[in-house]
Symmetry: C2
Subunit: 316 residues, 2 copies
């Protein structure tokens, strides 16, 4: 463990969330600022981050390290190559620009990689050497720990599970391909499944909760109806669990982890999904009777995972 | 490097192939024996392996280590849990039984994991810290090197790429699931693609080479016709390259290797496939313009890869 306070900031599409960890890894301070939006806002992001560091230091004293989590493809040098949820990003040198401003080295990595680090070092995965974090939110992201080490890949881009193709004739993905896993197993995938079921007067309770328009159906409506015991909604949840399991099975056949940590917005409905996911996992895995199945746990850090992991980046 | 001769034996469905490596990693001796077949033959396998060790030592003197590659799921303790191409295997303790017979520790691992080790340490991947071996044969196997370490997974079962599901409504796989990658991108997958094209008087040259019966079409017939410039066969090769690329893209999105080493029986037709594979790879990868694409090389060790890697097992 480092001696001194470690600051991590997670840059999201709407807000920047900062946390300060003490020597023991406990969060002792938190800060939030809106993420600058709109054309030309990118340089303002560096101003925002520098101001957050300065505010924190005014409040609690100097921090020994600064780490930043950002959404998108990040190189080992801390350059953000592209970020679908930030405006105008193309080879944006976050580490270089912020490091120069602060006059200290800044580490930058992908937000899901940071989340993986947080859950592995201090959270749900602290007992594992071979885990995969899978964040099920609007899309799917993740990170890999294998053989007791965080695996970023040759260029820093490992963990883009969401664009694993699970059906080459499947629905179009904003990324330009078809049938990416995140078209099925994410929050938007759950809503899409529910809308498909909603045709032909099924899932009427879901439709009711969504105000009657199939196009307004969201994942939360399915979850709410399923919690009321609505049979059709439970079928949608089962179909969703099958798609989640399918991707987890692929990851298991490839890397054989002993633990999946599921995070992201959908973790909130975890009690509904876990049973279907585990049942389908056993159906779809290669040689399911001859091997231990990986455990499935839910992330412990919630929305703070990226910031906590960013605070740990200097120790990897 | 170890001092002294290292023996590795690769147990295949039809033959056991042994090699001896000297200190520099050169193959200085080779041995072959038929793999015992049929019900009740399993104990004979230990006899065969022990006899091969003894014969080698009679010929060249003592070997310092013995490693064995076997097809199937192998635990860290060297127990073969199941092997589709060997008769009657269920928790067969190869390491324990052969070790007791030889009175020395024996390391045992999956044949494709051994092949990965061979190509990484001494072959096509010796310049990489992040490579994936993909063997395209009757099925698909492989192994993972990530972050400069061989990754076997939590239980030793990493690298079963062949059963990654790439189309949940695809053709049945002998493993019991549907749409596994090896239904498409293996030797049998190429033949299946060609048979599909052969309906309706297409791929007539392939049919001719196969003696006129679509059911007799094999991958070799497609390759032979394609080498003659047959247009329909080149279309089959292109479709095949798309399926190979799809799986490689999934692996890249997950682990971001800088190198794929392709091995297995299909490597022989590599000049035909490489172009289509690389073109489709660029079509299917997430953010293809923003990242270096992994190199694709063909394995150097051919049929000896498993044996050479087995000889290196004691050094991992």
């Amino acid at each position: 463990m480092t001696n001194g306070f470690r600051l991590g900031i997670d840059v999201g599409g709407t807000k920047c969330l900062g946390v300060v960890l003490d020597d023991a890894g406990a969060v002792i301070d938190e800060a939030r600022q809106p993420t600058p939006r709109g054309p030309g806002s990118l340089p303002l992001l560096i101003d925002t981050l520098a101001a957050m560091v300065s505010d924190v230091e005014t409040r609690i004293g100097p921090v020994v390290t600064v780490g930043i989590g950002v959404p998108g493809l990040v190189t080992y040098a801390g350059v953000l190559r592209a970020a679908p949820n930030l405006d105008g990003v193309a080879d944006f040198d976050v580490a270089g620009l912020l490091g120069a401003r602060l006059d200290q080295p800044v580490r930058v990595d992908n937000d899901a990689t940071c989340g993986t680090l947080a859950e592995w070092r201090l959270g749900a995965g602290s007992d594992s050497d071979d885990l995969m974090l899978v964040t099920l939110g609007t899309g799917i992201g993740g990170g890999v720990v294998a053989g007791g080490a965080l695996q970023r890949g040759a260029h820093g881009f490992a963990g883009e599970y969401g664009h694993m193709v699970v059906d080459p004739d499947g629905p179009p993905c904003p990324c330009g391909r078809q049938g990416c896993w995140e078209r099925y197993a994410s929050g938007s995938g759950l809503a899409r499944l529910a809308r498909e079921y909603a045709v032909g007067r099924r899932v009427s309770r879901v439709l009711e909760l969504a105000g009657g328009d199939p196009e307004s159906v969201r994942g939360e409506h399915v979850q709410a109806a399923a919690r009321e015991g609505d049979h059709d909604s439970l079928r949608v949840i089962d179909a969703f669990g099958r798609w989640v399991a399918l991707g987890l099975v692929n990851l298991t056949n490839i890397l054989d982890p002993d633990l999946f940590v599921l995070g992201g917005g959908l973790a909130a409905g975890s009690d509904l999904y876990l049973g279907p996911i585990q049942r389908w996992f056993g159906e779809l895995l290669y040689q399911p009777d001859l091997r231990p199945h990986p455990r499935v746990k839910f992330a412990e850090f919630g929305e703070r995972a990226g910031a906590v992991g960013a605070a740990l980046l200097h120790e990897t």
